[in-house]
Amino acid sequence: MTKRSRFSGLAIALGLACAAISPTAAAAKKLSIITATTDMAALTQEVGGDRVNVESIAKGYQDPHFVEAKPSFLLKLRNADLLVMVGLQLEIGWLPPLITQSGNPRIQVGAPGYLDASQFAEILEVPQGQVTRAMGDVHPLGNPHYWLDPDNGRRIARGIANKLAEMDAGDAAYFQQRFKDFDQRLTAAEQKWDAEMKPYRGRKVVTYHRSFPNFANHYGLDVIDYVEPRPGIPPGIDRTDETRELQSRLGGALFRSEDSPVHRAGDRRTGSRLSSLGGRGKRGGRLL
């Protein structure tokens, strides 16, 4: 083999390598988005489509109040273009130190890559007047469990779509189109959900934590009590008894709750119906 042909072989190999690399270079242009919870990740994925990489810090089956600020999350945050959080102090126990230590100026509080999704949503249970911890772990800015109302889901998705359009102006039309599509699918799904939930309108429910005000509001459920005596304070044995008594008086209230051994016990003893809304979803499944 002559020297020349060896060189041309090398040139071809290099050319092929470049061709192989160029799609990855295009892919690197994708916005890298980290969200605090999987709910936000799902909504971001809906509007972001294949132009974004979305990853959530908390897992869907994890209590978003008590995520640990693991250093491995810093590896994700340091390269993020956008951080989407639930806000209203839901993540106050773990997100602020992660943001500070990330060494990433783009996602610092107030920077363009810092997005508090609560600004788009209807917020309930904003405490009026004096707020004290005697009320338990209250969120002074309002109840952070707002995403379970489909209307809020739509509003959050629209807010995120606008943000993405702002950050990546070239794909603005794409994100708006994705939002429009999501909006239509959500509206169709809502008709189905409304029909499914109609029989339960006005049904009295007891929830474990104050997690469902927006959901209950949307579907006309009547939340009469909580298993937790105060937000964030676990119920004692007497409290479980109290709730049980309340239930038997009501004659089998729908006992909606997060996953907890306390409720299972309550459920067994009262014969009321337990519905769990937490941690049953398939990972990576489509939202609608």
């Binding site: 994890q62 250093p71 491995s72 060494g103 107030g110 920077a111 949503a121 917020i123 800015l141 676990p234």
Partner: protein, 420 residues
């Protein structure tokens, strides 16, 4: 008259349904689209009100936007924060919104038992720590921790963290607990025990530890996927340790001390992770400029916390090994100490733990103290904690101490971050 008075009312009653029927008639034809349009309009209005409410909330909680300056880096922020800028005379509550987050943590300790060598007061308001924390501007945040003890006030930490440095660097300037090992970085109220281990007292400057004024710079280093590697370098004035346990002393301005720390972390599974650290510290000791003290440390922490049941069960096992090399007359002293401890969370509010520690003394390396503790902790809520600790200590020369420590921690004000 009676009739004439009632007549208009009767007429009105009859008239209303008639008129309303007439009004309905033309609508019936095109009623469907009209109501749909109206509903849509109401929904749009509702959305706008909610969007406005959201903006008001943002204004109330977020720090002030960057001042519109001509400098290039600020322009990105001002462009986004255009609307908040117009909030001119919002007055009282808006001004308060810019106050730092204030927290106070009370640490009350009572001790029963006998300790002839290092007696503790029977009842003591050990520390009241005031924390003031806020974002300073788009480029930095500030943290102050003032520790009010029984004898006076001490600035435990007070530093600015520069969060917007290029190339992923994070810098701190001020007084801070240095990054030597694990326990040294922790404030009293986040320790898994009432006290600090013997090795801290004997080799790392006691309760105050390596806590000094200086600068710190840290950066995440490139590492194989899934491994977190971070290096920290710190330069301090050279004064550390409390008065009973002096560590570094700066006799001249050039007697600075330095600390280096390398941290490696890996998630083994989603619930288990391993955290390893290597530390080095060097400074001049209380004998003068010509006498150096060097510390070498290795720390390891294994954590287990199943995510689904993370608020009910967890385990943390930790240990630290520390070697001290102190130049003094007549000869250099090389002392070694370590502790190892484990904490298991039994339920949402209960934790049980134990610790074994053993440490030589920095000035007399052949004198070794050892001890063991059993700890039980109860959390009434996230904002208070009751802890009992039984502590056995065998000091060098076979002096034994059996003590029972009770601690009550309570936290006021802003919700701080949970330590990791």
């Amino acid at each position: 008259m009676k009739y004439s008075r009632w007549l208009p009312i009767f007429l009105l009653f009859f008239a209303v349904p008639v008129f309303s029927q007439r009004g309905d008639a033309p609508q019936a034809a095109s009623g469907q689209p009209d109501t749909a349009a109206l509903l849509q309009k109401i929904r749009d209005l509702e959305d706008r009100v909610i969007a406005l409410e959201g903006q008001v909330r943002q204004l109330k909680t977020e720090p002030p936007p960057a001042q519109p300056t001509t400098s290039a880096p600020a322009s990105a922020f001002t462009a986004q924060a255009g609307t908040p800028g117009v909030l001119g005379g919002a007055g009282g509550s808006a001004a308060k919104a810019l106050n730092p987050d204030i927290s106070v943590i009370g640490d009350f300790i009572s001790v029963a038992g006998h300790n002839s060598l290092q007696p503790s007061p029977s009842l003591e308001m050990h520390e009241s720590e005031v924390g003031l924390q806020a974002i300073i501007d788009p480029y930095a945040r500030g943290d102050f921790f003032l520790s009010f003890g029984e004898e006076g006030v001490n600035l435990e930490e007070g530093y600015i963290t520069l969060t917007a440095l290029p190339a992923g660097f994070v810098a701190k300037v001020g007084k801070m607990r240095s990054a030597f090992g694990k326990v040294n970085t922790l404030h009293n109220h986040v320790l898994p025990w009432v006290d600090r281990p013997l090795v801290t007292n004997n080799l790392v400057g006691g309760e105050d530890g390596l806590d000094d004024a200086g600068v710190s710079i840290q950066r995440i280093l490139p590492a194989p996927k899934g491994i977190f590697l971070e290096a920290t370098g710190q330069l301090f004035r050279g004064d550390s340790g409390d008065k009973d346990h002096p560590l570094f002393r700066a006799s001249t301005t050039s007697d600075v001390s330095a600390v280096a720390h390398l941290r490696g972390y890996k998630d083994i599974t989603e619930s288990t992770n391993l955290d390893l650290g290597l530390s080095y510290a060097r400074g001049h000791n209380n004998l003068g400029t010509d006498f150096l003290t060097q510390l070498y440390g290795v720390d390891a922490t294994l954590r287990w916390k199943p995510l689904r049941r993370s608020i009910y069960h967890s385990f943390v096992g930790r240990g630290e090994l520390i070697w001290s090399q102190r130049q003094q007359l007549p000869s250099e002293q090389r002392a070694f100490g370590f502790y190892t401890s484990g904490d298991y969370q039994l339920g949402r509010r209960w934790f049980v733990g134990g610790r074994y520690d053993r440490a030589g003394r920095s000035e007399f390396a052949n004198l070794t103290d050892q001890g063991a503790s059993a700890v039980l902790t109860y959390w009434p809520s996230e904002f208070s904690q009751i802890r009992g600790q039984y502590r056995f200590t065998r000091y060098a020369g076979n002096v034994d101490a059996n003590e029972f420590l009770m601690q009550l921690l309570f936290s006021l004000g802003a919700h701080g971050a949970h330590p990791f």
